[in-house]
């Protein structure tokens, strides 16, 4: 199930990278900006990249689809045409490194199922069934602002909803 999900995501992101390389007139700043790379599930600003301030993102889906089609055709007809610069979009999220580590280390996290975990970088600082205890334990280890999350057991027969 997981590998199928990954394939779907990879296919979608492959499509998005294509958009970024070709540029799409009607999409404004849509796509993965230069200076960013799609690593895992979040797009990371590349270290040292010269990030410009956030720009407005215009999303009109009818225009988007039409623009995609037109640009794809144009691109296939003129492969030598220079790619248009794509405006940058701020996509930074908190704890990208930790979220990526969670994605790539399920075997380690499996032993912490049904527990709260404080993760700093790639190091598990504290864990336990009570989030308050985990927060305090992390602070005792010198983490002023800990990142804590709950490791839910994976069961393909269980479907998640809000509460």
């Amino acid at each position: 199930m997981e590998h199928i999900q990954r394939e779907i995501e990879d296919e979608r992101r492959s499509g998005l990278r294509y958009i970024a390389h070709t540029g799409v007139g009607s999409l404004g700043s849509w796509g993965v900006p230069p200076g960013l790379t799609s690593s895992g599930h979040n797009w990371f600003p590349v270290a040292g990249a010269n990030m410009s301030p956030p720009r407005l993102l215009h999303v009109n889906f009818d225009e988007l689809l039409q623009g995609l089609t037109e640009k794809a055709v144009a691109s296939s007809q003129s492969a030598a045409a220079p790619a248009r610069a794509v405006e940058r979009v701020n996509v930074r999220t908190l704890r990208e490194r930790e979220v990526e580590w969670r994605r790539t280390h399920p075997e380690i996290l499996k032993q912490f199922e049904n527990e709260w975990v404080a993760l700093e970088g790639e190091k598990i600082i504290a864990h336990g069934p009570d989030a308050a205890d985990v927060i305090k334990a992390a602070r005792a280890e010198g983490i002023r602002k800990p990142y804590v999350f709950f490791v839910e057991p994976k069961d393909e027969n269980v479907i998640m909803y809000g509460l």
Partner: protein, 141 residues
């Protein structure tokens, strides 16, 4: 005439152990009397089915704050199971988007997932592209 929305921020869905990628955002949260750097960072599901945001009450105990106050609320799920919670004003901070004051319900019971609901959506403009596993935000509604 269809309204066209201009967004400033675009995010990919984030990884969760249970279900792969989901509309989850990592936020910084702290009580108003504390400095932002003394808060915690937690994941929250963006949930349009939730009218008032709901977080695990243990987070407040992590700040030595008593969850129980005079602002009791009962949350109910689709199964009708009641969940006792208490409203607390906290600051929710997102990188480059800003700081938002929210009265969030903090549960007595040990819930596993934090929910950012329509009270948060009311403070921003948010859009989803489920097919692309993305959501979009701008800081003003």
């Amino acid at each position: 005439m269809v309204t066209t929305v201009e967004y400033t921020h675009q995010f990919a869905y984030a990884h969760t152990e249970k279900e792969g990628v989901c509309p989850v955002i990592t936020v910084s949260m702290c009580p108003p009397e504390l400095l932002p750097d003394d808060g915690i960072e937690v994941d929250a599901f963006l949930d349009s089915g939730t009218s008032t945001s709901l977080f695990n009450g243990s987070f407040l105990r992590g700040f030595d704050i008593d969850v129980i106050n005079d602002r009791s609320k009962t949350f109910t799920s689709t199964a009708g199971v009641p969940l006792a919670a208490y409203l607390h004003r906290v600051k929710i901070m997102l990188p480059s988007l800003g700081t938002f004051d929210l009265d969030i319900g903090f549960s007595i019971d040990p819930i596993r997932r934090n929910l950012l609901g329509r009270d948060f959506f009311n403070l921003v403009q948010i859009g989803f592209r489920e097919n692309q596993l993305q959501y979009f935000l701008k800081a003003t509604p």
